[in-house]
């Protein structure tokens, strides 16, 4: 069943891709192939491969139970928030929070997760910024 859904999504993707290829505007400079042909070939092959997957699906993979899926979802949300807030909060604070959250959700006790998160953040800051001179996001506090 999973493979059938996957194949279905693949066909939608192929259709979207071919449609997108036709949206490409042709410029006045052009070559015999043009910017549309190769994407159309790719889109077609995505469609064919998806169709084969639908027709001959593999055995069902072990999907995690719903709570665990939510868990992964939560981690994704935290990472996305981290990506957005990094320039606002500054590297050290944002990283400590995100890292502590991940450590906690991977099964460490809350207090030790916090310790580990702060240590990770400071460790990366010292090694990569202070020693190696990499530029990290500066927040309002300057780190």
């Amino acid at each position: 069943m999973s493979d059938r859904i996957f194949g279905g999504l693949g066909i939608l993707l192929a259709a979207f891709f071919i449609w997108g290829a036709f949206q490409v505007e042709l410029s006045f400079i052009t070559d015999p192939v043009g910017p549309r042909t190769f994407p159309i070939i790719i889109g077609t092959l995505i469609g064919v491969a998806s169709l084969v997957v639908i027709l001959r699906p593999d055995p069902e993979p072990d999907w995690p139970a719903l709570p665990r899926l939510l868990e992964i979802g939560a981690a994704v949300v935290v990472m996305l928030a981290y990506a957005m807030l990094l320039p606002e909060l500054g590297f050290v604070i944002a990283t400590a929070i995100a890292s502590a959250f991940l450590t906690w959700r991977l099964g460490t006790a809350p207090f030790w997760s916090l310790v580990s998160g702060v240590a990770t953040s400071l460790g990366i800051y010292v090694v990569f910024h202070l020693i190696l001179g990499l530029s990290l996001a500066k927040g309002p506090l300057g780190f």
Partner: protein, 513 residues
Amino acid sequence: MEALSSLGEGFAVALTFQNLFLALLGCFLGTVMGALPGLGPSNGVAILIPLAFTLGLGPVEAMILLTSVYYGAMYGGRISSILLNIPGDEPAMMTCLDGYPMAQKGRAGEALALSGIASFVGAFLATWGLVFLAPQLVKVALLFGPAEYFALFVLAFATLGGIASRNQAKAAFAAMLGLGIAMVGVDGQTGVPRFSFGEVHLYDGIDFLVAIVGLFALSEVFVFLEHRGTAANEGQEAKVQMGRIVPSARLITSTTPTMLRTSLLGFIAGVLPGAGASLGSFLAYSMEKKMVDREGTFGTGDPRGVAAPEAGNNAAAGGALVPMLALGVPGSGTTAVLLAMLLALNITPGPLLFTQNPDVVWGLIAALFIGNIMLLLMNIPMVGMFVRVLLVPPRLLMPVVAMVSFVGIYGISGSSFDLVVMVIFGVLGWALRKLDVPLVPVILGVLLGNLMEANLRRAMTISDGDWTTLVASPLSIGLWAIAIAGFVLPIFVGKALKMRMRRMHEEHTGTAD
């Protein structure tokens, strides 16, 4: 012996203080990453690329660092195989079969040392193979025109699913997905934007480093989240006796023929597209079992069974560098990641690399020799230290991996947008893994998509729009033929092989636990 004089110049490049330090650092980090469960060669190298890039290392320095990590990871994978019966990375799977039983008999130290020596022999011979084979391949590649290159790219994608692939349709899907992602952005030839839907960030295309780090490193974090609370997330202490850590001369001489044979086999498996180190170690082990296992001691702690897969997978790792450097077409996941590093530094591997940047090629090869000796010296006396690495629980390690990935990508572009794209790739990578869709073709597609299209369009421009130009020369017909065979054959042969590989491993774990 032109190759030898070039190699001599390579040593002049590699033997600077900075490069020796980078090689040492790379070997150390690589061994640690190989030993840690959850960090294999490809994601280990992947998280280091953006860092090497942002730290402003030159091409030679960056490649020395990353290939040392690559070789080191191949050494490191064996440690947890032998001590814990858990492969540190996929190629080390076969090392469990005799390594762990040997450790249970109180000979863990000997097994580690012997496998270290076997790794050295395999990698050392394979590096010599690289020295002599790569320039020959370059001579062939210099005959390639755009049409042949296009056929070569097709061949790479067709065979990448490889003999070990279970579902060719999914391998094809993965390759096309990667190529599709590469299409995003401004078309290099006519300057029109494609698939960017007015989003300015997408005009530059999707940076392949972002895709690689997301697919390999971040998706691993999600895999660990999924399996939280199981034993895999805890650090583990070896419960076996180390015994002596220096193997007797007799043990080494008795396994020498095995090492030599399996090095050759592994090297060939590595050079062939789509085979790679996992298959190299599997073939090496099966061949030795057939050839020398008269008393049925393989699987019960036979030292030859430890030496064979380790020599095989390290030789394959060296062999895989041949097509990557000489043709610009990698045959395995990790070499694809190394290719990404070169492309990020604006160096296109392939025949021209050997003429235009001989310092990069030969400096790198010389660094491999040096790194190999460092690894041998590091892995025999200091193995006790690497054993301690196994105690680090992934629940503490994986967040560090995630954060270092973010730091690396942010360091390149300083853009939140790239981080968001990376997270999306992480989720995509996790879902594709669950669905058994291989990730390596995706990466290769993202990397090579634009080059592939450029070659197609160049060939068509030369022929003025005649599609038969793609099969006009014997060389390109040959490449197409291999590509088709490489895609079709695994559908019949691959299933049987993959099943045998699994069965062998399952039978073993079934009896050992």
